[in-house]
């Protein structure tokens, strides 16, 4: 049999087969495997129990855990707050660095620095910044008279989550800036020129040209950020390790603790599946309702 004997369709299938096998192996199989594990009692510490099928028992157990709802609440609060701030600041920064001014290329490059620093490193940097004895933040605030004695930003349940959010905003705002800046540069200059001729002011230009043409960039940035924020792990693990008394524990952190610390793979997988469903739901809303076209971006 020669290649020529194959129909175009058959040849197509053969050519994409390796990619499909690859995707199945690293993306689809693990998801179903995790779901399978979540329906079994797999506690590696007590192997004599075997790995019996327990249906939805693990789900029921997790839903009865206050810790799960606390982690879900923390995750939603973190995602909503940090992504809102990042979109707002990122958008502003993009508009700013899109203008022509002296030293623009240096500003554009330096905006990206926080994004380029690995999460764990930026977590460690912020740990030092927040330190009550040697931290710069306390020092500045004390000098400015905002606070009368140094505050334990990450050791205090009323400030810890906000401290994590600030660190995350610092790190990922550049990502939003980058995506929106790219969007801004695809808007043809002619549109603004003709708007000017028609007598539109800056605000009208922004509302009628910039925003509508940026819609897909904004939605893509928003989608990526929400997905990443929903899965937050490294930053919190380094900064607070979930404390004070679990007030910054996210779903991913909780899943990691169940899986790798407690070796309870059944219940840990439930939390992973819930995180997966959350991510799936968010993606679904974006793709179906907001019509985000990922292939065009």
């Amino acid at each position: 049999m020669k290649i020529n004997d194959l129909s175009e369709r058959q040849l197509g299938y053969i050519l994409i087969a390796p990619a499909l096998i690859f995707i199945f192996g690293i993306a689809i199989f693990p998801v179903f495997r995790t779901i399978w594990i979540s329906l079994h009692n797999i506690d590696l510490r007590i192997i004599h129990l075997g790995t019996p099928f327990v249906g939805l028992d693990n789900y029921i157990a997790i839903f009865q855990e206050a810790r799960f709802w606390n982690a879900l609440k923390n995750t939603l609060f973190f995602s909503f707050t940090s992504v809102s701030l990042e979109m707002f600041l990122g958008f502003g920064a993009a508009l700013l660095v899109n203008r022509k001014f002296k030293g623009r290329s240096i500003v554009r490059a330096s905006v990206l620095i926080p994004w380029a620093i690995p999460t764990v490193i930026s977590g460690l940097i912020w740990r030092l910044l927040y330190n009550d004895q040697i931290g710069v933040i306390n020092d500045i605030f004390l000098r400015l008279g905002f606070i009368s004695e140094s505050v334990s930003w990450i050791g205090n349940s009323s400030t810890a989550m906000w401290s994590v959010i600030v660190a995350d905003v610092w790190k990922t705002t550049p990502f939003v800036t980058l995506l929106i800046l790219a969007g801004l540069q695809t808007i043809p200059k002619e549109l603004y020129e003709s708007a000017k001729i028609d007598g539109a002011n800056k605000w009208q230009e922004f509302i009628n040209i910039t925003l509508p043409l940026l819609k897909s960039s904004i939605l893509v940035a928003l989608l990526f950020r929400i997905l990443a924020a929903f899965k937050v792990f490294g930053l919190i693990d380094v900064l607070t390790s979930g404390g004070p008394s679990n007030s910054t524990e996210s779903l991913s952190l909780y899943a990691h603790r169940l899986l790798f610390r407690n070796l309870n793979f059944g219940e840990g997988s439930v939390v992973s599946v819930m995180t997966f469903l959350g991510v799936l739901l968010i993606s679904f809303i974006f793709v179906k309702i907001f019509n985000v076209d990922l292939s065009r971006k």
Binding site: L44, Q133, S157, G243, P244, S245, R261
Partner: protein, 414 residues
């Protein structure tokens, strides 16, 4: 179809290539997997071992210590037989043993061989009446104090909770140290290591000998009350509830704190050439509470275990014996300052000459206690971390927190 055939052949070739590389001869290759050691001591020992044992070739594979547990869990859960010896933390032993991941060692080590080790590390690495790991070096919680400041006040190092608190406050107000004491109180494993020293030192415990939960006791409430007072007071830094080891060490090392609870590694730092407190620091056992009889230290340290999936257990045991014997431990103590696990090394003249303080600290190490030896330990620790942290950050009182932790741990174990 021809293309497919070629592809298949290629694939088979690639897959089998990996086994071609591992063409066997008579030498058994042992892979030692564990955290990175910052000195070349272990590398030198491995080289010597390989020379002395022509039929065994030990190679080292390292993992950063922060990730060690995750990578062990991944490899063991996948029944990985590509490593033979694992260097594990003392608290993992019961879990890994109960999971069937590490092999019992009693057929390789006699009881009298095991008796030569300090009792704490041996208890901490045994499970269900079997020995599962051999302690290579140990560690324990120590109270570091500013010798010079105490001498000036004419005081002896504190032996009770109250003495510690008053002395720390006194030195803080009379001298140029902004902190009375530093310790570890972030919500993490180190918090448990800290609080247990006060609970044990006040006669309390988490589990009794029959593994009943005894956490919610008068002694523990009193110990936690004291610990919370210490953490919340101005004697300790305001951010101490987010402190880990290095956060506690740095101020003390910069001559900015009078006391510090930390592990033995700190000694090397305070005695370093450029240290502002060189020669001004003493080490003492942790203080005893009003209801306690003797001081307690939480045991740390790393241990050598054999991967239960390994095909070379016999050879692995030979290597573990070699690397934990008296000669190796003396060398390790001299080169790294790590604490030996064999009792006899504490009498070695060579070691005492270099580290005279080993003699007085022997009492700390011989009394150091393992954290609850249970396959459920990680989960017990997690519950305690959360509840104790809620006390020191002010959202619960000791009685409520310990009652809640007690009930939760009881439900978990039964």
């Amino acid at each position: 179809m021809k293309k497919l055939l070629i592809l298949t052949i290629l694939l088979t070739f690639v897959l089998s290539f990996s086994s071609v590389i591992m063409a066997e001869d008579d030498v058994v290759e042992l892979v030692l997997y564990g955290r990175v050691d910052d000195t070349s001591t272990i590398t030198n020992m491995i080289e010597r071992f390989n020379e002395e044992h022509p039929n065994i070739n030990v190679v080292q594979e390292s993992t950063p210590s922060g990730d060690a547990r995750d990578s062990y869990v991944t490899r063991f859960a996948g029944r990985d037989d590509s490593f033979d010896i694992a260097q594990i933390d003392i608290v993992w032993t019961p879990e890994f043993a109960s999971a069937g991941w590490i092999a019992p060692l009693n057929e390789y080590f006699t009881d009298s061989e095991l008796d030569a080790f300090l009792p704490g590390p041996i208890t901490g690495t045994s499970y269900d009446g079997q020995q599962y790991a051999i302690p290579r070096f140990t560690d324990a919680g120590i109270l570091y104090y500013r010798k010079d400041l105490l001498e000036e006040e004419g005081l002896e190092p504190p032996t009770t909770f109250d003495e510690l608190y008053t002395q720390a406050g006194l030195l803080q107000s009379n001298y140029d140290v902004s902190q009375g004491m530093t310790l570890q109180a972030q919500q993490y494993e180190g918090l448990i290591c800290n609080i247990l020293e006060y609970m044990w030192g006040n006669g309390g415990n988490v589990l009794d000998e029959d593994n009943n939960v005894v956490l919610h006791s008068e002694e523990n409430i009193e110990a936690l009350d004291f610990f919370a007072k210490l953490v919340k007071s101005n004697v300790t830094p305001s951010g101490v509830s987010s402190y880990v080891e290095e956060d506690a060490r740095v101020p003390f090392n910069q001559a900015d704190s009078a006391f510090q609870r930390n592990w033995f590694y700190v000694w090397g730092h305070v005695q370093a050439e450029d240290s502002p407190v060189k020669g001004k620091v003493g080490m003492a056992p942790m203080p005893v509470g009003p209801n306690g009889e003797e001081s307690a230290a939480t045991l740390g340290g790393w241990n050598m275990a054999i991967n239960n999936f390994s095909n070379h257990k016999e050879e692995a045991a030979t290597f573990i014996k070699y690397i934990t014997n008296e000669e190796a431990q003396i060398e390790n103590a001299l080169n790294t300052g790590r604490l030996p696990t064999l009792k006899s090394v504490y009498n070695s003249e060579k070691v005492l000459e270099e580290y005279p303080h080993f003699e007085e600290l022997y009492d700390v190490f011989i009394n150091a206690k393992p954290r609850p030896v249970s396959p459920m330990y990680s989960q017990i620790s997690e519950v305690m971390q959360r509840e104790i942290h809620s006390v020191i950050t002010g959202s619960k009182n000791s009685n409520e927190a310990l009652r809640d932790a007690h009930n939760e741990i009881e439900n978990m174990i039964n």
